[in-house]
């Protein structure tokens, strides 16, 4: 960045977080990294369009993770686009523009927001349930409040803090009453070849944020239902025994090549080709529908009210 510019980004760092702040007269940007939540998976560094995120490698000593991998920002390159904040699977990065939580690129319609959902159907929730969901949750995203009534604890409320949720599905699979529905944003696969594991190594289990990998009989075991495909385990493995890949990302609708570039970097060219096919299919459908309505309008000679109503619907689809 040029010196003497008031609007240059400034980096603040302490043991808990890194903040990048940029202030213009009429707009303020804040990109914040929570160092404790970050597990160094490096997805942000992969997609950063300006290559402004540097990864620090982990330190694995005698099969234990001495130091987790970390990331750092180069503020001379960072353009505060916020792509990293959108994609972080561990909610470690977030971005605010003028106090509102949104990424610049999302605001400018150049990047989508990931589709991730967690829903509790309260009716299915058994009040005498021992709340395994809260137990299994790797963060504190689910809070079950119980009240003691007639000598027995009964569940009065279940609250979900989505900003903490990893969408790992541990709660959904732990619930005996089928009351929770979780939709993961990433879809992919995880493969671990235990033959390549060094003796007594536990690094992957120690870094995994959702306890997908657990050590049993001195060997790591993968419970792939819980995997969120952050690929941090692949990063810390000293022997390249793990292969994590993503093949689909669920996101809101956006027409932007910037998103396709990020998608290619995170998944594969095949995935991007598929997404483009679906997009062009959607466009074809809406064009045809639009033409149908035009024909309909012309042939029928409707009265003015009807015409207006149709035009309204047509315009909605034209967008």
């Amino acid at each position: 960045m040029v010196n003497n510019l008031r609007g240059n980004p400034i980096k603040y760092e302490n043991s808990q977080e890194i903040r990048i702040e940029r202030e213009f007269l009429t707009r303020k940007y804040l990109l914040r990294l929570n160092k404790n939540l970050c597990n160094g998976c490096g997805l942000c560094s992969k997609i950063c369009p300006e290559e402004a995120i540097k990864e620090e490698p982990p330190l694995v000593v005698n099969g234990h993770l001495e130091k987790k991998p970390t990331i750092d920002f180069d503020i001379d390159s960072c353009i505060l686009c916020g792509e990293c904040a959108v994609l972080c699977p561990l909610n470690a990065l977030d971005m605010e523009v003028d106090g509102k939580e949104i990424s610049t690129f999302v605001k400018n319609e150049a990047f989508p927001v990931l589709l991730k959902e967690i829903n509790i159907t309260k009716e299915k929730c058994d009040p005498e349930c021992d709340a395994k969901c809260q137990e299994e949750c790797p963060t504190e995203a689910i809070r079950v409040t119980k009240k003691s009534e007639k000598g027995q604890d009964r569940i009065t409320n279940v609250q979900i803090t989505e900003s903490l949720c990893f969408y790992c599905k541990r709660c959904e699979l732990a619930c005996d009453h089928d009351a929770i529905q979780v939709r993961k944003p990433f879809r992919g696969s995880i493969e671990l070849n235990t033959d390549l594991c060094p003796e007594g190594c536990m690094a992957c289990a120690e870094i995994c944020p959702t306890h997908t990998i657990q050590i049993e009989n001195d060997k790591p075991q993968v419970f792939s239902e819980f995997c969120i495909f952050c690929s941090a385990c692949q990063k810390v493995c000293p022997n390249q025994a793990i292969d994590v890949s993503r093949d689909w990302i669920f996101h809101t609708d956006v027409t932007a090549a910037a998103w396709l570039t990020a998608l290619k970097k995170l998944t594969s060219v095949k995935t991007v080709a598929k997404e483009l096919r679906i997009k062009s299919g959607q466009r074809r459908t809406s064009t045809v529908r639009g033409r149908e309505r035009q024909l309909h309008l012309k042939s029928e000679q409707p009265n003015s009210d009807q015409a207006e109503a149709f035009l309204k619907i047509l315009n909605k689809y034209k967008k």
Binding site: N4, G7, F24, R27, I79, C81, N108, A258
Partner: protein
């Protein structure tokens, strides 16, 4: 003028005329000129010796011309000021008298003698006699020379598209010459395009600049190369070969400047034109009145180039003017003259912690003020406090931020800040009459036309001027108001004043990239970091390099009027060269003697201009005269005496050394100084009247690379107490890199002296620039101690061991 019948051949009777100048009291004040003239008449070949009051004046010159004719003089020596000032003057006099101008020699008894030994008249006179003896000895060996005539390309290059570059380009183009205007940023206009109003007339800045910018864009004689940088400059006066790199803009000429692309670009980054107060997109136009009026893509932050894909701008571009595969283009230009108008940067006040710039939101710089109050700026002309975006009730201006301070910023005065603040204060009063304004100053400098009147108007409008800058600014955490604490030095009391906004009047400073331009054109800088002019009074827009001129703030801080004036002056000076269409190249080139050449090729290796080609088999070396700059490094390198440097021959230099060491050599320092830097530095010491011991005798060469190891050995073998070899700073050599050879040779000599058991401290090497007079003076003072410490045994030992054996036998 050609050599006439009065120029003698080498075996003709030498008849030298010596003129010792009083220069009023400048020389006569410390040197006994009559005595020196009397002494000169006793020297060999001197047939006439006079002293007069002002030799350079008309009557003085007439005397010389008369004497040449009457007494059949064939050599003229003038002992007066530095040849860097009046050698051309007296050479013309000689030519008018019918004498070849290369038969003229000067002894510098003013800058190098009378001015630096003001309080030792006897020693100064003795030194002047030595200098005259040296000049006479050289003069006897001088020969007439013919100068090569080189054509001047009638095209000019202007580097920098601010108001100075624009004015220079327009003047040259209107005269009829083709001009290439190269500007680094995407639009011309420079800093003047950013400010709101100009003083003292309160004209709108961009309104008076835009017509000029438009003229430049439309002018048939001006080729505008924006977003371009000069990467290489070769050649010499009248024949420069310049390489310019045109950086890609990714937008073609089809751009209609509609702006649709900006709406869809997702990247938001700080806007440099608005000094970071607001954002711009990756595709942008620098400002609405840009010339050329075309958008461009900032390749540093655009995410559509290279690996990344984003083509939002391309999708909406109507004329389809966006191309992502644009490449940089290098063009080669041939020009005759170059004008450097690269402009300025502003001081960054972040380092002045007490003023809280960037810590307190309501402390802004004067440049940010210009953008806020400009109707085209980010707030539409409303001067608002950044903390709450409301108009302040009280504003304070603090002057001299980064100027006039040895420790905090730059030591010089930035010229424009006082008037800029007065203008700003009046602007505020014009829009919001109730705002209270304080100006904290050290001095108010209102020197130009109409400036004092504007100052009076400001005072009448109620602006309060307080003499005494605040020592500290304290911020009120809640309101973000600022408390200024300082001393009012006129009333002798401490003030504590609360204001809503503080404007720091930041100073001007040389551009960060001026080092690059300096290296390209081999320019010198003065101690304040701006480019150096050839002479501060008489040649204010020339540089020491022929054909290169300066204009605007590149030469020093100044306001728009002075920049425009200087630009027109530089255009006129460049125009002189191009109107003549030819320039005579000084006859300082080497003469190759094929009978002695051994074909070793060392001369070609050391030539900084690659002007020599050597046929190793035929043992012939050839020099391209037009490319040769006359540094003499080849001559010093040749160990077979196969190169004779015209007008600076080995014999002439030996004669000067011998003359200097004829008497009392053991108390003298023989100094070899290069014409462009160290000799000029010694001149500067003289001009500044810095006093130093009178033991040094300076021998001038064009470049320190001319100094052969044999010269130093001759000086020592004649009993000199110490020898100084001085040249330009490494990487600043006027002849690119010839001084690296100097360094090598002196290091070789040091090793030899150590081997021979001699004190190598007696040979000193110094890099002294033209602005470092103080360094020269202190070097001589330092060497005086070496001179005094050199014992008789040491000097005898040196004479014995440095004298070449065969000379010893015959002696």
């Amino acid at each position: 003028m050609k050599a006439s019948k009065l120029s003698p051949k080498s075996n003709e009777d030498i008849r030298i005329g010596v003129y010792v100048c009083h220069c009023g009291k400048n020389i006569a004040g410390s040197v006994d000129c009559a005595d020196v003239a009397e002494y000169a008449s006793t020297l060999p070949h001197v047939v006439l010796s006079k002293h007069n009051l002002y030799t350079c004046s008309d009557p003085g010159q007439e005397t010389i011309k008369k004497d040449v004719k009457e007494h059949n003089l064939n050599r003229v020596v003038v002992a007066s000021c530095t040849p860097r000032l009046h050698e051309p003057t007296f050479r013309r006099t000689c030519e008018e008298a019918g004498l070849n101008k290369y038969l003229f020699e000067m002894a510098n008894i003013r800058e190098h003698c009378s001015w630096v030994h003001l309080y030792e008249p006897e020693k100064a006179t003795a030194k002047a006699k030595d200098l005259v003896r040296m000049a006479v000895a050289r003069s006897a060996l001088m020969e007439p020379q013919e100068e090569a005539v080189v054509p001047v390309t009638r095209k000019a290059l202007v580097i920098g598209g601010g108001v100075a570059g624009i004015q220079a380009a327009l003047d040259l183009a209107d005269t009829g010459y083709k001009v290439y205007l190269v500007e680094k940023s995407p639009s011309i206009g420079g800093k003047m395009a950013q400010i709101d109003k100009t003083f003292p007339t309160m004209d709108c800045s961009i309104c008076i600049l835009a017509p000029k910018m438009s003229d430049v864009g439309k002018h048939p004689n001006i080729e505008l190369l924006t977003n371009s940088e000069v990467t290489e400059v070769g050649g010499y006066i009248g024949n420069f070969k310049v390489k310019v790199l045109k950086k890609p803009t990714y937008v073609t000429k089809d751009c209609t400047a509609c702006g649709d692309c900006v709406d869809v670009c997702p990247v938001e980054i700080p806007n440099e034109f608005e000094v970071g107060l607001t954002w711009r997109k990756a595709i942008y136009i620098p400002f609405p009145q840009s010339v050329p009026a075309r958008y461009l893509i900032d390749e540093k932050c655009c995410i559509g180039l290279g690996e990344n894909t984003c083509a939002k701008c391309k999708e909406v571009c109507g004329p389809d003017a966006i191309i992502f595969n644009d490449k940089a283009e290098e063009v080669e230009l041939k020009v005759g003259t170059i004008i450097v108008a690269t402009g300025l940067d502003v001081f960054d006040p972040v380092s002045l912690m007490e003023y809280g710039y960037l810590r307190f939101p309501n402390t802004i710089t004067s440049l940010e003020f210009e953008r806020l109050i400009n109707a085209g700026g980010p707030t539409g002309g409303r001067l608002v406090r950044p903390s709450n975006l409301r108009i302040p009730k009280k504003v304070a201006f603090i002057q001299c931020i980064g100027s006039r301070s040895e420790k905090r910023g730059n030591p010089y005065c930035s010229n424009v800040c006082c008037m800029n603040t007065i203008k700003d204060a009046l602007l505020i009063k014009e829009h919001w009459p109730d705002v209270k304004i304080y100006v904290f100053y050290i001095d108010i400098r209102a020197i130009g036309k109409g400036f004092e009147d504007l100052f009076r108007r400001a005072k009448e409008a109620g602006v309060i001027f307080i003499r005494g800058l605040p020592a500290e600014i304290i911020e009120d955490r809640k309101s973000k108001n600022l408390w200024l604490v300082g001393e009012n030095t006129l009333e002798k009391e401490i003030y504590t004043i609360n204001v809503g906004m503080v404007v720091l009047s930041i100073g001007l400073r040389p551009r960060d990239d001026s080092g690059k331009v300096q290296q390209l054109l081999r320019l010198s800088k003065t101690s304040d970091g701006f480019f150096m002019e050839a002479h501060p009074k008489l040649r204010p827009v020339d540089t020491p390099t022929g054909g290169v001129f300066l204009a605007g703030c590149a030469e020093g801080p100044k306001d728009i009027k002075d920049s425009v004036t200087q630009a027109s002056a530089a255009a006129a000076r460049a125009g002189i060269l191009m109107a003549k269409g030819k320039v005579t190249v000084e006859a300082l080139t080497p003469k190759m003697l094929p009978e002695k050449c051994m074909g070793c090729g060392l001369c070609a290796r050391v030539c900084p201009y690659n002007a020599i080609t050597v046929d190793k088999e035929k043992k012939i070396a050839k020099v391209v005269e037009a490319a040769c700059a006359g540094c003499g490094t080849c001559g010093a390198e040749c160990s077979f005496n196969a190169i004779e440097m015209r007008h600076f021959t080995d014999e002439q230099i030996y004669a000067q050394i011998n003359a200097a060491t004829e008497k009392d050599a053991d108390k003298k320092i023989i100094a070899f100084c290069c014409n462009w830097c160290s000799y000029a530095g010694a001149d500067f010491a003289g001009v500044s009247r810095m006093q130093y011991p009178p033991s040094v005798r300076i021998i001038r060469t064009m470049c320190s690379g001319r100094v052969s190891t044999k010269f130093v050995e001759r000086a020592f073998s004649r009993g000199a107490a110490a020898v100084l070899v001085a040249g330009c700073h490494l990487n600043d050599c006027h002849y690119i890199n010839a001084n690296y050879q100097t360094k090598k040779r002196v290091e070789k000599l040091w090793k030899k002296m150590e081997r021979l058991g001699l004190d190598k401290n007696r040979l000193q090497l110094a890099w002294i620039s033209a602005a470092e007079g103080a360094k020269f003076a202190s070097k001589i003072k330092e060497m005086q101690r070496i001179v005094e410490g050199a014992t008789k045994e040491e000097i005898e030992k040196t004479v014995d061991r440095m004298t070449p054996k065969k000379l010893q036998v015959t002696a």
